[in-house]
Amino acid sequence: MAKKKFVVGCFDDEAVLFPAVKKVRTSGYKIHDVYTPFAVHGLDHALGLRETSLHTAGFIYGITGTTTALSCISWIFTRDWPLNIGGKPHFALPAWVPIMFELTVLFAAVGMVLTFCYLCQLAPFVKKHHFHPRATDDLFVMVIECTDKTNTDDLKAFLTSNGAVETDVQVAEDGWWLGRYDKDEMPFENKEIVAA
């Protein structure tokens, strides 16, 4: 995958981040992404991201489960092997409700999690470029994609004036690859740990 050039600005408070996102966007810069340690509500709207359709996928998986259960059981019990259970009807819908329900939930949950992992490109052994190791700890990391015309020094100064506590320029791949994390920097390497 091609490498790209990014300007990275780190914020330490989401209350500072929101106005900064607004300013950066109105100034015409293209925000590649904002990496946050937790789900910051409203940030997706501030970045102009559309709503996710994951729940719609979940609904479709769910009804797939329901119909799978109903069609399989009814075929088995009325066509393939009509079992006489105390002379009761072969098509015993009320007795099938529990399994239909369970398969609805099972299909929806498994399908949604797999879809989530596919959309976010998450899997074991997957590696992605990390713009800042503290993005999963306490920093809100705004990453702006540079074009040929971007003056990185100006942009860094602009981010600092909008409250960024740290800025830098990075050249990185923006996709994912198979890799390990043990060659990454370890900012906590020499820490002495006292037993809890």
Binding site: A15, F18, P19, D33, V34, Y35, P37, F38, A39, V40, G42, D44, T52, L54, H55, G58, I73, I76, F77, D80, W81, L83, A95, W96, P98, I99, F101, E102, L103, V105, L106, A108, A109, V110, M112, V113, F116, C117, C120, L122, P124, F125, V126, K127, R134, A135, T136, D137, D138, W176, R180, Y181, D182, F188, E189, K191, I193, V194, A195, A196
Partner: protein
């Protein structure tokens, strides 16, 4: 946009004036520190119990069900009692992680991770019992409906025992997915601050390459909410279906329509008791008092007194119906086999009444709800009581049949039945000790999300907001 304001009257959920970084430090500390002696002692005891359980199961598989004291007519004894007991315990985890999420109960964030872990381990333990009760355990796959060379002979989809297969396996799968999807961002936090290569590598694999991208968080939120919405009816359905194992039969004492709600309330009751047992220990051993506060303990004790009382009402309703139905078999089961203290198993009924209905009433007093010793003691008592409940339901209904000639001899378990039960304790605690050492026991990202609304330090600053004019407040909050 969400308002960063919560009334000062509400107790803080996170004590101390914490920053986001401090939250990470506090929660990750037990993972990064060497385990204490206490951890090793607990872990080795658990493994020893587990090995004893493995040997007990080995004997059962080799020599058959005869290793247990099951007889005619008590075909279900300790094994199914333990199965229902463990499944019930699991329910609190899903209640905390799913139902309380939908009800927007902020206090769930402190305990949901550990409670969900408890659910998964409890369901793992529960599953062992029906599987090994089959006797020829190598044929356990016969319960799966697949086109086979025996006809194909299908399973009976109209049987509650098969519904159980679907319910328990779905429950386990969905709980595991819910738990793990919540763990991914926290594993990424642990990975990014790891200080050895092995840690970086292993937590790197476990975190699936999570970066914290805004779009990913948006999908993650959507996923958690829908999984919570799915888990809520699921958890109710699971214990309902377990109760159908009994309720759809025609055995006096089992054949009642009250079973589904009564079983679900009992499950939540015993599950919360187990969460209390674990949380009182975890907060002490790992120094998590700032995150698992007395407020959390109190809230769970309130759930215990509520569900304990619901269960009590169910017991009394059953007794009433035993008389009101004027069915002599029902009456005999409820008023002789159970409620008569000097009947063969009367002790178990009154043990159940004392542990489940009478003793939790102590939690009507605030002082008792906020007392750790009382909480810990009661959590054990409740779980003993709930074990008695399942024993009462199963054994007192089975030991005397319609014909006095087929009344069974007195049932008491063999050492291998007890060993199997002890083994599941070993399995449960071995898993829990490993979880507590290698996994973030509190959901780091979720605590950070509620920190600025419910953290003590932030709440104290909100006094100014209470005095602000409405227009000022709106103006200040609306800037993003």
């Amino acid at each position: 946009m969400h308002l960063k304001y919560e009334s000062q009257l509400r107790e803080p959920l996170v004590y101390g004036d914490k920053t986001y970084h401090q939250v990470t430090e506090d929660i990750v500390k037990p993972i990064e520190a060497k385990p204490t002696k206490l951890w090793y002692i607990g872990f080795y005891i658990s493994v020893a119990l587990l090995l004893f359980g493995v040997y007990s199961v080995y004997r059962e598989v080799t020599y058959g069900i005869g290793q247990w004291n099951l007889n005619k007519t008590i075909g279900w004894g300790w094994d199914i009692t333990n199965f229902v007991w463990w499944v019930g315990i699991g329910h609190a985890g899903t209640l905390i992680s799913a139902i309380l999420l939908l009800f927007r109960q902020g206090w769930r964030t402190g305990v949901n991770r550990a409670a969900e872990a408890m659910t998964i381990f409890a369901v793992m333990c529960a599953g062992q019992f029906p599987i090994f009760h089959m006797g020829r355990v190598w044929m356990a796959f016969f319960v799966l409906p697949y086109p086979n060379t025996r006809g194909p002979l299908w399973v009976n989809f109209n049987s509650p025992l098969l519904w159980d297969v679907f319910a328990i396996s779905t429950y386990f799968t969905v709980s595991l997915l819910f738990w793990y999807s919540g763990l991914i961002p926290d594993f990424a936090t642990v990975r990014d601050r790891a200080f050895t290569k092995l840690r970086k590598r292993l937590y790197g694999i476990a975190s699936f390459g999570w970066t914290g991208s805004t779009k990913h968080w948006q999908r993650h939120e959507s996923l958690s909410l829908v999984l919570a919405g799915l888990s809520t009816p699921l958890v109710l359905s699971v214990h309902t279906i377990v109760s159908f194992d009994f309720a759809t039969s025609v055995i006096p004492g089992w054949h009642t329509t009250i079973f589904p709600p009564y079983f679900v309330a009992g499950a939540i009751f015993s599950g919360f008791a187990m969460v209390q047992t674990l949380m009182v220990i975890v907060r002490k051993v790992f120094g998590m008092e700032d995150y698992i506060t007395m407020g959390h303990i109190e809230a769970m004790n309130k759930v215990i007194v509520l569900t304990g009382s619901i269960v009590g009402v169910a017991y009394l309703t059953e007794l009433f119906m035993g008389w009101y139905s004027q069915n002599k078999y029902e009456g005999y089961t409820f008023w002789y086999s159970r409620a008569y203290l000097f009947s063969p198993y009367g002790w178990s009924y009154w043990g159940m009444m004392a542990c489940n209905v009478l003793s939790p009433q102590i939690f009507w007093f605030r002082k008792m709800r906020r007392n750790l010793f009382v909480t810990f003691f009661m959590s054990i008592i409740v779980n003993i009581g709930m074990w008695f409940e399942r024993f009462v339901i199963i054994v007192t209904s089975l030991y005397r049949d319609y014909l006095p000639s087929s009344w069974s001899v007195y049932y008491s378990p063999t050492i291998w039945e007890i060993g199997f039960y002890a083994g599941t304790f070993g399995l449960f605690f071995t898993c829990f000790f490993l979880f507590a050492k290698y996994f973030p026991v509190i959901a780091i990202a979720e605590i950070k999300y509620v920190l600025k609304t419910t953290g003590e330090g932030y709440k104290n600053k909100m006094g100014n907001i209470e005095e602000q004019k409405l227009e000022e407040f709106v103006h200040e909050q609306a800037h993003h």
